[in-house]
Symmetry: C2
Subunit: 217 residues, 2 copies
Amino acid sequence: MPDSNSSASILLIDDHPLLRKGVKQLIEMHPSMQVVAEACNAIEGVKLAQTIDPDLILLDLNMPNINGIETLKMLREEEVSSRIIVFTVSDNEEDVVAALKAGADGYLLKDMEPEDLLTSLEQAATGTVVISPRLATLLAQALQSNKSVDKVDLSSLTPREKQIIKLIANGMANKVIARKLSITEGTVKVHVKHLLKKLRLRSRVEVAVWAVQEGLN
Amino acid sequence: MPDSNSSASILLIDDHPLLRKGVKQLIEMHPSMQVVAEACNAIEGVKLAQTIDPDLILLDLNMPNINGIETLKMLREEEVSSRIIVFTVSDNEEDVVAALKAGADGYLLKDMEPEDLLTSLEQAATGTVVISPRLATLLAQALQSNKSVDKVDLSSLTPREKQIIKLIANGMANKVIARKLSITEGTVKVHVKHLLKKLRLRSRVEVAVWAVQEGLN
DNA sequence: GTCGGATTACCACTTTGGTGGTACTCCAAA
DNA sequence: TTTGGAGTACCACCAAAGTGGTAATCCGAC
C-alpha cells in the first residue's frame, strides 16, 4: 500500500525468468516504479496479487497450464483491485480483444522499445489504459465489428442496484441513500459493493460518471 | 453525526419561542426526525450549527438584528455542511431568489399544512431541494429572467483546481491524481478541499457529476 | 420442495476522503 | 518592497467508503 509519493508497486507474472530479470532491471532504473514481487505461474501470481495488492500487474499471456487470459479472469474473480497490464508477444487480434474483454487495463507488446515500455507503465500507473500503438488500428476495427467491447450489460443489475446507481449519480452519500430507501447504511454498502463488481468499476465516483454519461440520471 | 437508521437531526433557528415549540412537537411526532437544538438568533444559531452539525437547519427569515439571509450566508461562510431550509412567512419573490442564491437547500412557507411540512422535511433529509408548491411558478419566472441562479463561476477556480476537477471526473482517486501530477496525496486533498468550497459541493462524487454534466470531461 | 438469486442486516476491519491547522516558496500586483 | 494568492507539504483527526464474512427472509424456477 504505497502512499502518494512512494513509487508505484508492480507485480510481474511471467514464466520466463530471464525476461522477468530484464523487465525488473529496466523498471528499477525508474524511481517512480518498483517491482515488489514476481511469479512464474498463474496460481502463484494470483496468490501474490491478493496478499500484496500491487498498483500494477504485468501479466504474460503465454504461460504453461493456465494461460494469461485465464489468469486475468481469476484475478478479476478474486477482486484484485490492481491495474492489470497484459504484456506479451502476441499481436493476435483475438488475444487483444479477449484480454480487454476480460478486464485488462492495458495491452503491451514485448517487442516495444524499453523506453516506450517505461513511459507506458508510468501512464498505466496513473490510471490510463495503455495499448501498444501497433494494435490501435487493429483494435479500432474490432470495435467497429463489435461495439460492445467494454459494454457491461445493464441487465445483470438488480432493480435495487439500478435504483442505487441513480442515487449515487445524484451525488448522494450512502447515509442519505439509506434514509431515502428506508434501509440501513450497511445494506446500501452491500448493494454498492455488488454493483461495483458487476460493472467492474473501482469506486462510486466511477459509477457516478458512468451513469451520467450513460444518461441514467 | 447520526448513523443511517437513526433519525435525521434538526436545528431550529427562529426568534419565536412559540413557533419553535409547535414545530418541535410536530417533528417529534415523526420517528425519522428529531430536533436536537434550537436558537433564537443568528449568532447562537451559527454557533450551534458548527458544534452539532445537524442534518437539517430550519431557518426563519425575519429575525431581529441579523436576518435570515445574512444568517444563511454566515452558515455557508462557516462551511456548515447541513442542509439549510428557509422557513418563513414571506412569499416575496426577492426573498425566495435571494435565499436560493445564498445557498438554501429549500424554501418552505409557514402556512403549510403540518403534514405537508413533515413530508417536505423528510424529503429534505434525503437530499431533495424542497420548495413550497405555491412558489414554483414564481420561481420558474425568476429562472427565465435570470438563468444563473445556481451557476457557479468557473473563473474563481485556479488552473490547478480545474485540472484536478477533470481528473476527478475521470473517476480517479486522490492517490492516482497525485502520481499523475507528481505531487503528494495531501496536496491533492488541499486542492479538492478548496474546490469543494468554491463550487459549494459536498463530495468528489458531486464534483464528478457536475463536471460531466458541464462537459468538462 | 429444494435451490438459488435478491434483499436485508450486522459485524469488524482497512482504506480513502475530507477538515483544520501551520508553514514554506514563488511570483505578480499594489 | 510589502502583500497576497497559488501551489506545495506535513500533521493529526474524524467521517465515509469499501471489503469480507455470516445469515436471515422471500420468491420464483427447476
